[in-house]
Symmetry: C2
Subunit: 184 residues, 2 copies
Amino acid sequence: MPKKALIILAEGFEEIEALTPIDVLRRAEVEVVIAGLTGKTVRGSHGVRLAADLVLNEYKGEPDALILPGGMPGSANLGQSKEVAGWIKKMADEGKMVAAICAAPALVLAPTGILDGRKATCYPGCERHFPSAVKFTQDRVCVDGNLITSQGPGSAFEFALILAEHLAGREKARTLREGMLVKG
Amino acid sequence: MPKKALIILAEGFEEIEALTPIDVLRRAEVEVVIAGLTGKTVRGSHGVRLAADLVLNEYKGEPDALILPGGMPGSANLGQSKEVAGWIKKMADEGKMVAAICAAPALVLAPTGILDGRKATCYPGCERHFPSAVKFTQDRVCVDGNLITSQGPGSAFEFALILAEHLAGREKARTLREGMLVKG
């Protein structure tokens, strides 16, 4: 059975940070659903308008992973949503994967408390929003059990490949890294 | 005056190869117009539906750069279009930048003859579509005057930053590389 991932896009999402995991995970045969937070058309932080698969409140699935891209004001918009906070807490309570990149670990995950006592990274400087209970790292991608966080657009490919490794296996991720010509 | 870039998306465009240059160049304050080849909504090779700014035949600008992403069948669709071939030849005749990545150098640029006698790269294996007059290189990004070609999704960031360097200056590209946390 292929794994399922839910990615939530709010107005002002960072395009590279959203599209890179979607592209890599769909290549890995993970079923990725793109949910718009407030509508079916969502505008990225650089003006790219993307048609989501559905609006978040229409989604009735049981995903194996929740993915939250960064970007401003995308991350702030995600962070202000009780619906998003509910999804994060539900996924964390069930021990399922919660993944966030750039400003999203600080502005979306941290306020829910799920990072307390856990290791996490974020866009350099955003760690000022981490409560002191979070074990901040400067890794490009940080894996602490079911929590996967990453720094920014330039680490989006590494983030996406780690997600692919966890959701579709190490061999699939290795094949994608080679086939997609990712350096290093 | 900010420079202008035209990116043409056909059904089946590769999402990372399209979105990375759009994102990086808009950050560099290049005016990027996203044109759909046959319609205003275009579906990528991994199912992402993007709203173009306009349909190609509505575009009346004079771009400084033409950008062609890869992906299948996106590159094949671009390669079959006389309108796209016309744009490529016009840009090349005027000495303006023509940039293509992945399968697009082989399936879209090469048939127009503009690569003859010039250095170019492409997705490994696609070089079988290059006429013998093309000086094939295995560089991740190849710059030969106004012609910029690149290998695939994993080199999309390097491709985008080289475009930014040429269209917005070395200093802007360096700042973006640092701010976007691109490795190396």
